[in-house]
Amino acid sequence: MTSSRSATIFALALLAPALIYILTIVAYPLVDTIILSFTNASLKAGYDFVGWANYQRIFGVGNFTEVIVRTFVWTFFSVTTKMIIGMAGAVLLNAAIPGQAVFRILTMPPWIVPMAIGIYMWSWMYNGQFGMISGLLQNFGLVDGPVAWLAYGHTAFWATIVTDVWIGVPMVTIYFLAAMQSIPKDLYEAAWTDGAGRFYRFRRITVPLMVPAIITMSLLSLIATFNSFDIIWILTQGGPSGSTTTMIIDTYKTAIGSRKYGEGAARAVVICIFVSLFCLAYFRAVRKLQQGEAK
């Protein structure tokens, strides 16, 4: 086909709806966030520019750095656990045993049901008096009395991580499983002929060849987890006493809860900066992996 000017016009015309849509609904709000972060916008109509005042306030007073650190710790443990359980799940579902197909289907529900509904179920399971986790632990004599998981800072912190892992695991598992199955079979057969055991084959063939998939998924999962909102909001709303307040919850509370749009926007901008850094890391990793494959 000709690569004439008319081709370019046609290509741009095809692209126009997507471009206009994204510019209006995502790019414009992104720019608007940055602008708002320098204003004192609130529920009232109109606002004034206040320079760096919002940034000075969030970094000056209060516990913003604490929130940032907490977000990173929360994200780190959640992503790491997802990767480990996802890998274990992929290995198990990859084994050639009867029932394999059914097990794979049974892995998917947490991913495809509305997230909020899965979280409602967890919020009942965490109930101290009557919930399943506390109840079963008591029945088996592992704890003495009821444990209200969401009522204490440190247990609530881990409880929200467990639920986040639960929602993320199916996708990671299926993704790893597919990557595992794209490894050429003859590698395994050659190693097997040479007398390599199953664990040795896993360590020397599966793991090295899975590295690109693990890196890709870790970074994607990092970005998604960092942005995780529904789970914490439904389970604890950032409580008790701020122990599960991550950056995104903090932003939501400031902006939507207290109607401080300007200050909320400043907090959102800080999130955007982190997400952009993760994004850059992701693109660089993908490019590196592609170059590695091309060699």
Partner: protein, 321 residues
Amino acid sequence: MSFHDAKATLPAGANPLAATASSVAELSKPKVKAKARPAKAMIDRYHWYEVAALYAGIAVFLFFVLSPFIEGFLVSLKPLAQLFSTPYSFIPKTWSFDAYVNMWTSVPALGMHIFNSFFISSVVTLIVVAIVVPAAYSFARFNFGGQALLLGMFLAVNMFSGAVLLIPLFRLMRSLGLLNTYFAMIVPGAAFLIPSSIWLLRTYMMRIPRELDEAAWVDGASRLYTLRRVILPLAMPGIVVVAIMTFIGAYAQQFIFALTFNSKTEFMPLPVGLFAFFGKQEVIWNELMAASFVGILPVMIVIIFLQRYLVAGLTAGAVKQ
């Protein structure tokens, strides 16, 4: 990204997991296949204790994944008085289907919420597919200045979540007059699903031979005609995958926009509509669970039948979790 490409081109009918594995094996050694078969069978042979360990591992794994659903289902069958009693018993002592009857009066708009969830996801899917098909074709077939940059921009935009942009989105919805309408949930919902869908479909379309376009061009077909009559039919399996992934994305994630941009009961999707159960003095958990199961059941059944597309979509389009 050839790692992803490999899986985007699966024929619609094939099970992607099985197909990938077998096609890789076939490609690598077509001739010695017959000879390799006994070795392949032997390599997959397990000792009995290995099989036992595998099943035990799978049991633990699936227990983690499914326990909230099992518990939720059993809760929906317990009378409320039994729920709020100790000691805890996993299996209901008395079985009761009252929750499935009473929930319709506790939340009068329940049927509406179930419909809304489905409706919102469907409209989002239609919008996304209509926008994504031409855009993906444009990225897959044409070369113009700044194309790579534009594609990168789309992907980068995808990484920002709606939660971060909530304030300006709220202002935007307000000035567009969309607050408290279906569109307050549909319009932003679709936006965040477009970039990853473009990526997925572009990967798929790049596998359609260019010669087909060129042949149509030589025969005097216009560009639009080529897209409609040559490319669209061939890309249909890919479009189906995109549509299903979009539907699930829209269905699973409808919460924050519905929570923030809409306050009218009649427009609320299921996840937010169920909040009504929390508004009471005491949460009626058994009805909440019953309503959840009834609400998600129709979509779940359909999705289970379509699960092979999910795997194809997930592996090809893993630009966003």
